[in-house]
């Protein structure tokens, strides 16, 4: 097997394991309905995976550095088996349990992959770049692929498909002799890992909330939303290709952080509720992602040995960041959604009262809209249902459009604060980058 094929297969394994931190984002509404659970509960399908990946990464790295190839194999097998467990889960509890096991397998796979790549590519530097790039691609493509699979084949297909793909990557480790590293591990790079944690927390908004805004907020078809959010990984790939020409790791990391913060701020001040408004902010976030995550990973691993252990620290930091992002941003978002629902109701009632529909109909329309909103149970309601049996006159159509517009405004405004908070989190990453710039020059 050629070096390139081996690298690609190992990269596929890393991508699969790290895509899982966000791959079910668009599947959450379907999972919520299937298992009849609340929104904060269903979020544990994402949170549990990231939490266990963060917790297991460093111990897994210590295991992986002694026997990288067997650790990669074992991690892949556990990941594949747990993926099947997720697909066949008869209850929500089993699904979350399988996700935890999947994360432990993923942690072992990803950490061992770094030493495998060093052996395959014959260079630690090239191995770190491939390892970081595969992880970024996986995390960025996750929501899009998950959305398209959920829409076309159902959410279970995400996990059914992962199992055989993961098993294919085992071929990369076949007959590969990797020298075990038993030297004691040095201290992890605190500034680089802290910056990774803060940046990953911020990226949660881009990867998780943006998808939620498109599908649940603006009622966009999940498959189309999946295509829209591919702007981010495409921008990340394009930027990663020219990243090295942009300077040292500190410069690239800081530039990336500024781009991510700028993109998130722009998402926080969207002037309309159509998907094309998200394209330019996504390009900024994607470009920032491509620059910052790889630069910070290189920075965290530079001159440190063994690579697998320090790689484990970066995985732990990144996924702890995702958990922090989910736990921090979700309550801010739900509180803003509640507040804006009331504002939208009042604005909608004003639109009904000031409309030119027959006076006798006004209270009836207002009551129908209110009933739809109240019955929506924390999902964004479709107020067009209130007009299904009403005349298609210009007055009714105008009122319908005005109500939809008020609802879109309310939903978009509800996402504003979490995006702005995420931008602040991203900017916070500049502090450890600046601190480490003084200490290290890469």
């Amino acid at each position: 097997m050629s070096t390139r094929t081996r690298s690609t297969l190992v990269g596929l394994g890393i991508g699969l394991a790290l895509a899982d931190s966000s791959v079910v984002t668009l599947a959450l509404p379907d999972i919520l309905r299937q298992f009849d659970v609340e929104i904060p509960t269903v979020a544990w399908v994402l949170t549990s995976y990231n939490l266990w990946l963060a917790l297991a990464a460093v111990p897994a790295a210590y295991v992986a550095r002694r026997r990288p190839a067997p650790a990669f194999g074992a991690g892949t097998l556990v990941f594949a088996a747990a993926s099947l467990g997720c697909a066949l889960a008869p209850s929500f509890g089993v699904l979350v349990g399988a996700r935890c096991v999947q994360a432990v397998g993923g942690a072992l796979l990803v950490c061992a992959a770094l030493d495998l790549l060093s052996e395959i590519e014959g260079s630690d530097t090239r191995a770190v770049r491939t390892w970081a790039a595969a992880g970024i691609l996986g995390a960025a493509l996750g929501p899009a692929i998950g959305g398209i699979l959920t829409e076309t084949l159902g959410w279970e297909s995400i996990f059914f498909l992962q199992a055989p793909l993961a098993l294919v990557t085992l071929a990369a480790a076949a007959r590969l002799r990797v020298r075990p590293l038993v030297e004691p591990a040095g201290r992890p790079s605190v500034p680089a890992n802290l910056a990774l944690l803060l940046l990953s927390g911020a990226l949660t908004a881009a990867l998780f909330l943006l998808v939620l805004l498109l599908v649940d907020g603006w009622r966009m078809d999940p498959a189309l939303a999946g295509i829209v959010v591919t702007v981010m990984p495409v921008a990340a790939i394009a930027t990663a290709a020219v990243a090295e020409r942009l300077g040292g790791t500190a410069t690239r990391a800081a530039t990336g952080v500024v781009l991510v913060a700028g993109g998130l701020t722009a998402l926080g001040v969207l002037p309309g509720s159509a998907w094309w408004w998200t394209v330019l902010p996504q390009i900024l976030v994607g470009a920032g992602l491509g620059l910052a995550l790889s630069a910070l990973t290189e920075r965290a691993l530079h001159g440190r040995s063994p690579q697998a252990v320090h790689g484990g620290w970066t995985i732990a930091a990144r996924h702890a960041g995702v958990v922090v992002g989910l736990l921090l941003l979700t309550p801010v978002f739900t509180a803003a959604l509640d507040r804006n629902e009331e504002r939208a109701l009042r604005a909608g009632a004003a639109a009904v009262l000031d409309s030119r529909i027959p006076p006798l109909e006004k209270l009836a329309v207002a009551q129908d809209v209110l009933a739809i909103v109240r019955a929506s149970d924390r999902e964004v309601p479709d107020v067009r249902d209130a007009f299904a049996d009403r005349p298609a006159t210009a007055e009714y159509r105008g009122l319908e459009e005005e109500l939809v517009s008020q609802l879109d405004r309310a939903v978009t405004a509800a996402f504003s604060r979490p995006f702005l908070l995420a931008a602040l989190l991203a900017l916070g990453a500049l502090v450890p980058i600046a601190v480490s710039r003084r200490a290290v020059s890469v």
Binding site: T251, A254, T255, G256, V258, L259, A261, G262, G263, T265, A266, V269, L270, P271, G272, S273, W277, L280, P281, L284, G288, N340, R343, A344, L345, R346, A347, A349, A350, A351, L353, P358, P359, L360, K362, L363, A366, Q367, L370, Q406, R409, A410, T412, A413, S416
Partner: protein, 146 residues
């Protein structure tokens, strides 16, 4: 780095200039402030204007928006919920509702929006009908004039 800062700042400034910082549900009008005049055609629309003015007067007196009040007119229970939220008694709310209707009827009569018979009917309703019946009447008020 300079390019990144410039790109981020340009995009954020452009979105803010296009209305991004105020893209939220339209604020509702202050019920105590006069509204722009609106032409009414036919008796139904004229009665509607009187009832909207009554809602404004009542909402202003209670310190809530007209829209919040109208949404609470669905039932006595909803009205009680509004009273609790505003820390007022049912009697205070009922009194504000009746006074708002009487004031708007008087104003409507002065502006020739409604005739004497309709005004007398609405006054009778505001003075004498039990709250539940008054709410039912308000919900279907324009049917009075057919």
């Amino acid at each position: 780095m300079v390019l990144a800062v410039a790109a981020a700042a340009t995009l954020v400034a452009a979105y803010a200039a296009l209305g991004g910082t105020s893209y939220e549900p339209s604020p509702v009008a202050n019920p105590c402030a006069p509204r722009p005049p609106r032409a009414a055609e036919g008796t139904g629309e004229r009665i509607e204007l009187v009832l909207l003015a009554a809602a404004d007067r009542t909402a202003c007196r209670l310190g809530v928006s007209r829209e919040e009040l109208v949404l609470a007119l669905r039932s006595v229970d909803e009205l009680d919920a509004l009273a609790r939220k505003e820390e007022r008694s049912r009697d205070e709310l009922e009194e504000a509702l009746r006074a708002g209707l009487l004031g708007a009827v008087e104003e409507g009569e002065r502006q020739d929006l409604i005739g004497g018979t309709t005004a007398r009917g609405l006054r009778f309703a505001a003075d004498r009908l039990p709250l539940g019946l008054l709410l039912s009447l308000l919900r279907g008020a324009s049917s009075l004039v057919g």
